[in-house]
């Protein structure tokens, strides 16, 4: 997904003199090509994220479309107040890119687990939140959002090369990856691959046929899409993010805004830090976010619901 981001960034920068890239001393080698082509529109501020956001905010007020790059929690939580006061309150045109969403850097430890970022960032007014689930989404989202006004948060991570069902996609709307009539899975990020595997197996073994949509744009939400959820019996959200304030919570809030009452199964990290580490697949397993666990949770959700009817 990072390659797709970089490809889009190069293309957009080539066409737009106002694009400026700032890194907080991260992205070894990945910006070589960018620097070769646009060395005057690149700045490494050093390991100083607070300063990075302050500088980016001011530069954006001078007409630059600034992209700030960092990994995990450094470009978000470390400088949260700068994002709130300097960037969001001033409606600065900056795109905050965090590479390594969720457990991408699983084995590096809790400091590198980006598992509360979506909730924290989306709670700030004036910020749009994007979490692409595939390479295609990452590419198209990058191209689109750099030109959107205001502060954008873009969380990227490693993804498999899954293709959406439709060739033409609008990154501001939910994107369909699987069609089924028994319910719907809403997800964001690389964990889409686990969702697809779960849905395929549930269909094969239990004849449960689920749709899957990627909520690439978590904020602002697409009203028309959420209105249609009224007719969906089973709604499941899956995220590599803490249970509180994440994708599931955002879905509940959106439905509440539309006055739609629905029971949703939220599959997420259970409000804990993981001191026991491993790679992303291991972390998903140990946090019950792998395909097998997702299937079990969904089956349980279906069975519990049936009991109530």
């Amino acid at each position: 997904m990072r390659d797709n981001f970089l490809k889009a960034l190069l293309e957009v920068t080539k066409k737009d003199q106002n694009i400026f890239l700032i890194t907080g001393d991260l992205g070894f080698k990945i910006f070589d090509n960018y620097i070769k082509k646009f060395k005057n529109r690149f700045l490494n501020v050093g390991v100083a994220e607070q300063n990075m956001i302050g500088i980016a905010s001011a530069m954006s007020l001078r007409g630059y479309k600034v992209i700030v790059y960092s990994i995990a929690n450094f470009g978000t939580l470390r400088c949260l107040e700068q994002i709130r006061n300097d960037a969001a309150y001033h409606n600065s045109n900056i795109t905050i890119v965090a590479s390594g969403g969720g457990y991408t850097y699983g084995s590096l430890g809790v400091s590198h687990h980006a598992t509360e970022d979506i909730g924290i960032l989306r709670s700030l007014p004036n910020i749009k939140v994007f979490v692409p689930s595939s390479g295609v989404e990452s590419y198209l989202t990058t191209k689109k959002i750099i030109n959107l006004k205001g502060v954008k948060y873009l969380r990227i991570e490693k993804t498999s090369n899954i293709k959406p069902l439709n060739k033409k996609i609008d990154v501001l709307k939910p994107i369909i990856y699987r069609k089924g009539n028994d319910g719907i899975i809403l997800t964001s990020g690389g964990i889409l691959s686990e969702c697809i595997d779960s849905a395929d197996k549930l269909f094969k073994n239990k004849k449960i046929n689920l749709s899957i949509y990627s909520l690439n744009c978590i904020k602002p939400f697409n009203k028309n899409f959420f209105k249609k959820l009224l007719k969906v019996k089973y709604i499941i959200s899956v995220e590599e993010h803490n249970y509180s304030c994440g994708i599931g919570s955002s879905i509940l809030e959106n439905l509440n805004k539309l006055n739609i009452k629905k029971n949703i199964k939220i599959i997420a990290i259970k409000d804990r830090y993981s001191s026991i580490v491993g790679d992303q697949n291991y972390m998903r397993r140990s946090n019950n976010l792998n395909s097998k666990s997702i299937q079990n949770e969904i089956l349980k959700f279906f069975n519990d619901a049936k009991k109530h009817f």
Binding site: G46, G54, M59, L61, G63
Partner: protein, 267 residues
């Protein structure tokens, strides 16, 4: 405009504002009045008519709690109506206690949490440098604000990039929120700190208009400039001077009357 006369007007106005708005920080406000007066009268050349000029000087009040001083200066210069000043901190006002830019032309940047302004100043100065503009960016910080690590991130950045179009002014009244800077977190050797971060640094009298104007208008060589301006918290009102209490207290009607008399009668 004569900056000393302007300073007197600002003192009178901000005393009234903090009285009517029952707001804090009059001590911090009076501390920077002379600096603000010299900047707006003699240095910045900011007027309502040239706000759209990109190559203009910029001023960021990093110690946002003294926002009343800048609001008053801007109102006197015609950026918005003077009447508005008396709404300071009242219900429904956009003149918040900590400086805010929304619908207030002339306010370059909103602050209030300490340690943000110098980074923002770096951003403006860096952008001006890229655009090869002549303008300068001035940032006014409090001394207590230099406790913040982010201030030093910005200081290191400005020094490294030799931002000669950036001027930091520190309101060194040596009192912070609870007690003296020395007792809280000693800043000394203060000048040496800035110099070691790659700045030209000078100690000046923060209430002497001639000295302020002369120093603020000198050209920078190849370094950002820092002025450690020695000031008195509550300057101009005898019973407020050097008293931490006036970081918080709003003058009541009797105190206002007494303060205004002192300010009006001062030379």
């Amino acid at each position: 405009m004569i900056s000393r006369k302007f300073a007197k007007k600002l003192r009178i106005e901000t005393l009234k504002m903090t009285h009517h708005g029952r707001s804090s920080h009059i001590g911090s406000i009076l501390s920077i009045i002379d600096i603000v007066a010299v900047l707006y009268c003699r240095i910045l050349k900011l007027r309502p008519g040239n706000l759209k000029n990109n190559d203009r000087n910029r001023f960021i009040l990093s110690k946002g709690h003294a926002g009343a001083a800048v609001y008053a200066a801007l109102a006197f210069l015609g950026f918005f109506s003077k009447k508005k000043l008396m709404s300071h901190c009242k219900n429904g006002s956009n003149l918040s206690g900590h400086i805010s830019h929304i619908n207030l032309p002339g306010v370059e940047f909103s602050t209030g949490s300490l340690g943000h302004g110098l980074s923002v100043g770096c951003g403006f100065a860096f952008a001006s440098k890229l655009k090869k503009e002549k303008s300068k960016t001035f940032v006014l910080l409090s001394d207590g604000e230099c406790n913040e690590g982010s201030t030093w991130e910005a200081a290191m950045f400005a020094g490294h990039h030799k931002l000669k179009n950036l001027v930091a002014i520190i309101d060194y009244n040596k009192l912070q929120s609870l007690t003296t800077t020395t007792k809280t977190l000693n800043l000394e050797p203060f000048k040496k700190k800035w110099e070691s971060f790659g700045w030209d640094c000078k100690l000046i009298d923060g209430h002497n208009h001639k000295i302020l104007e002369k120093n603020f208008s000198t050209k920078s060589k190849n370094k950002p400039k820092c002025f450690i301006a020695s000031t008195i918290k509550g300057k101009g009102v005898s019973f407020m001077e050097n008293k931490v209490l006036w970081h918080y207290r709003s003058p009541n009607i009797l105190e206002l009357k007494k303060a205004l008399e002192e300010v009006k009668n001062a030379r």
